[in-house]
Amino acid sequence: MWYNVINSVFLRLYVMNRDKQNKAISDLMADYNELVDQVFRFVYFKVSGKELAQDLTQDSFLSVLEYLQKEEREEIKNIRAFVFRTARNKVIDYYRKKGRVIYSDEAVLAEEKKFTKDDIAIKQDAKMLIEKLNLLGEGDKEILTMRYVEDLDIKEIAQVIGKSQVAARVQIFRATKKLKKLIEK
């Protein structure tokens, strides 16, 4: 309980003193638990283990906070899309450091993505579905998870992937078709 009191005290201070900065930080903390799980899953489907996914999730949140605390920065209209975009960049950086390239059309890193993760209890059906998702290209997989697992709307998805809303919609349609085919095989 005291923890929540302290949390809300700090948030209230922000609301009193820095409206713009406050709003973004309040938004970040308002649905903190849900947002952490969403970002964690988004990253977890891209990398090879729970620990790594948690590390990258943490990096993403701390980077977002650092940015929000800057005196001069652009206004963040949608904090969820901003956090997802940051997490996406963190994963790209991680693979870049490892000397890999992701976001091509092919299902890259197949050997790493083969679903052998036993670090989280996942039902058999879900495991099979993730294996099928991993057969898709990275872009298709992420767009489907954002749309149907994390319930991001088209506008948010377009912001995350840096494309137009029309392009995002088309990609979702095509990716859904591809996944259906893979499942029916």
Partner: protein, 192 residues
């Protein structure tokens, strides 16, 4: 079940609760620091002073209110890293730092806080069950404060520091073997 519903079921995959709590604490700690010490001081001096005052007044009030209660006293005096009130303790120290006039006063405060951090690390190291990461981060804070105080390490501090580092190593070993033991027990349970 259709494809979209199946995808929705993946929501059951979640991050560890411990992880979420630890990250929330880190964020709160950073929010506390951000209020008092904005990173880019591009605003004019006048604006900065006004902002500091505007922020400090409520913080000082809160610290004062908390400080008068027993719980508050505990929070601001005896909280250790990982405790719920520890971010409040750090925030109150930052208030003191901002209020301190002159570089020498600030250096004195850094030295005072570095001693506190060392004591906290020692207390954590003495605890039977402590996450080694907490002691490590207390030591990092100690070294950060010490470097800001611009004072060299005393012989006594070197010995105390070494003892804590030994404890961290010891605790890490205990902690890892503890985890292995729990995993083993959990596996045995699932077999039954």
């Amino acid at each position: 079940m259709n494809l979209k519903e199946e995808l929705k079921n993946l929501k059951t995959i979640k991050a560890d609760n411990d992880f979420k709590i630890a990250l929330r604490l880190k964020i709160l700690e950073k929010i506390g620091g951000g209020i008092l010490m904005p990173q880019n001081r591009t605003a004019s001096v006048r604006q900065t002073i006004f902002m500091k005052k505007a922020v400090l007044v409520p913080i000082v009030l809160i610290v004062a209110i908390l400080g008068t209660s027993t719980l508050g006293a505990y929070a601001s005096q005896s909280a250790l890293p990982g405790d719920l009130f520890y971010p409040v303790k750090l925030a109150s120290e930052r208030v003191q730092m901002v209020l301190a006039a002159g570089e020498s006063k600030k250096a004195e405060l850094h030295l005072k806080f570095s001693k506190k951090r060392l004591e906290e690390a020692e207390k954590l190291a003495e605890k039977k069950i402590t996450k080694p990461e907490l002691i490590k981060s207390a030591m990092e804070r100690y070294e950060k404060e010490l470097s800001k105080s611009e004072k060299p390490l005393s012989e006594e501090a070197i010995i105390r520091r070494q003892k804590i580092l030994d404890k961290i190593e010891e605790k890490t070993k205990d902690y890892n073997s503890g985890i292995k033991e729990s995993v083993k027990k959990a596996k045995e349970k699932t077999k039954r």
